[in-house]
Subunit: 127 residues, 2 copies
DNA sequence: ATTATACTTTACCAACTGGCTAATTAACCG
DNA sequence: CGGTTAATTAGCCAGTTGGTAAAGTATAAT
């Protein structure tokens, strides 16, 4: 199909799949346990399909226990994705610096962890 | 369409688009300048489409200068993606620890930056 | 043997993606 | 004005994605 990194990013590009990963972060779970919170919006085969995508991306490993399929999280592909992002870290920090300068110029406040003014404007698109 | 994070990951899930971002990391470039390295494998409208995806994901900003469209990198969406990944940092570190222990048990060697044995096995899928 | 549980597979569908060619828009140059 | 350069738009197409319902498989329980 495509390269591993593309498969990883592609697998992460869906809120349901990210929610499945978040669930598995709390520990192993069977397919039905994973599916349960989604069954109001989606059928079981739908969840199975999402799991398949995560599986082929190497993010989830499925094992067998009688008729159950316990799934576990496998973060190895995430380290590659993180490494890719890391290349842009310098620019991201510069971007955050610009945010800090901007906020300082607008609110006359520095960026402190629990500064409400800063937090409120944190999701501004461009700085 | 979908949420911002999904749009970001989706935009990153293509090697051509990642290459475009890498190009823009070196500085502003017009559409034809960006397209040039890809024209052996793809036409100009193809590149335009990829740029559109990056633009709607907020990763690229296009401005106007006569008939040229200078594009710049915008890393803001990457900080959100990085923040999402950060949630899995603990598991990633544990995974790397397991890699270290495994390598130690197999090669009787610790993980050193320039250890050839360790580097050669670094891309092993599961540890 | 039958039934129930857990899950997958198949077949179908609409929508999206990624590519193309050809046509169009917009700006500059002489 | 007419031509050239830069880029986008339109229309087409094949393949993928994300969902469904219905049928199938495998294991356990009675």
């Amino acid at each position: 199909m495509q390269d591993a990194l593309s498969r990883t990013f592609s697998a992460l590009a869906d809120p349901t799949r990210r929610a499945i990963l978040a669930r598995l972060r709390r520990g192993e779970a069977t397919v039905s346990q994973i599916a349960e919170p989604f069954l109001t919006q989606m059928t079981l085969p739908g969840v199975t399909k999402h799991l398949k995508v995560l599986e082929t991306a190497g993010l989830v490993t499925k094992s067998r226990d009688a008729q159950w399929r316990p799934c576990t999280l496998n973060v190895a592909p995430l380290t590659d994705a993180t490494a890719w992002m890391e290349e842009y870290r310098v620019q991201m920090e510069a971007s955050l610096d610009r945010l800090g300068l901007y906020l300082k110029s607008v609110t006359n406040t520095t960026l402190e962890p629990n500064d409400d003014d800063a937090a409120a404007d944190n999701d501004a698109q461009t700085v």
